[in-house]
């Protein structure tokens, strides 16, 4: 191999390696810190407020206030939950229809409750379930627990 080929190849290698060496110098030759990805996921939050019993289209339902505390607009597409009283299943609950909530705003979710035991009164039931939220073209699923007083529920229904 001729001398100029060796010189050219040596300069070429030095030029190619220069940015990598410079980058390593900036990071104090800590390769691990250079390879660790950094990412800050945007805030995705759904804050559940008060749960108010309502009569909705002849269905027994709970009107739940929900605030989008995240940074992007969301659509609550689904909520499925059991209705538990002292840990025992007494019914089922589901979201009546999808609700869109812009960032920082509040909306109301109509959750239909189907109780298998209609004699329950003056008790607090829990609705442990999973909520499905659509945002930026993807579907996010997260746990959501709602606690509601059945006593208030009957009183409110009776008052209507």
């Amino acid at each position: 191999m001729r001398w100029y080929v060796i010189v050219v190849k040596a300069i070429e290698t030095a030029l190619i390696l220069a940015p990598i060496v410079y980058g390593l110098c900036l990071y104090g030759w800590d390769v691990q810190s250079m390879t660790v990805p950094s990412y800050k996921s945007p805030g995705i939050g759904l804050s559940i407020g008060y749960a108010e019993p309502v009569l909705f289209e002849d269905l027994t339902a709970i009107n739940v206030s929900a605030t989008n505390t995240g940074e992007c607009p969301i659509t609550v597409t689904d909520f499925q939950a059991l209705v538990l009283y002292r840990g025992n299943k007494v019914g089922e609950a589901y979201l009546r229809y999808p609700v869109s909530i812009p960032s920082g705003e509040k909306a109301y979710l109509i959750i239909v409750v189907e109780l298998s035991n209609a004699t329950l009164s003056d008790v607090v039931v829990e609705l442990p379930g999973r909520v499905r939220v659509k945002l930026m073209g993807l579907v996010v699923e997260a746990p959501l627990n709602i606690t509601v007083s059945i006593g208030t529920f009957h009183e409110t229904l009776g008052g209507r």
């Binding site: 080929v5 190619i16 950094s38 930026m136």
Partner: protein, 187 residues
């Protein structure tokens, strides 16, 4: 009569085109039309954005910069060796970098995706469509994300592969040209 290595010239200019007008070689789009996630990857550029926020890997910037330099130098050498076809030694300058990089690229993508799956549980196919689920980090509770993902190799990758094949042909063609061209060193 001036002879040039046409295959080498085409390969060199294709390499220059690929570096100077950097288009991604591989694209991944998540959600509807990449609204939730997109990755534009080539040896010269790396852009990954998840839910509107970029994913930054410091070493990638320096590697892509080195890669850009490597391709520009390879292109210049290849063009030079394709025009100055006097020395047999100049065959060394007909770079096979485009070929080796375009062969290594999908392998590195596959390794990168395997590492991503291992690290955050996000499964992305090298090519094609998939519905993937993963746990979103940084939230206060277990949040499962469901996302349709579409990935594909672009025309730029195909051009890089063509540049690589042309450089291989150029090397063989260089031998043919040398046999028919008197060496300048012996004149």
């Amino acid at each position: 009569m001036v002879r040039v290595n046409v295959f080498g010239l085409m390969s060199g200019f294709l390499m220059l085109y690929l570096v100077l007008l950097p288009e991604p070689w591989w694209v991944a789009l998540g959600g509807s039309d990449g609204e939730a996630f997109h990755a534009y990857v080539s040896p010269f550029a790396f852009e990954v954005v998840l839910l509107g926020n970029p994913v930054d890997i410091p070493i990638v910037y320096w590697l892509t910069l080195a890669s850009r330099l490597a391709f520009i130098l390879a292109a210049v050498e290849t063009i030079f060796a394709s025009i100055v076809v006097y020395e047999k030694t100049f065959k060394t300058f007909l770079s096979l970098r485009a070929l080796s990089v375009s062969i290594l690229f999908p392998i590195l993508i596959a390794i990168g995706l395997a590492v991503t799956e291992e690290a955050i549980g996000l499964s992305i196919p090298v090519y094609g469509e998939a519905l993937t689920t993963f746990n979103l980090p940084g939230q206060g509770y277990a949040m499962t994300v469901e996302m349709p993902i579409r990935t594909y190799f672009t025309t730029s990758y195909l051009l890089a592969l063509i540049a690589g094949v042309l450089s291989l042909i150029a090397r063989s063609f260089h031998e043919v040209l040398i046999k028919t061209e008197p060496s300048i060193s012996r004149v």
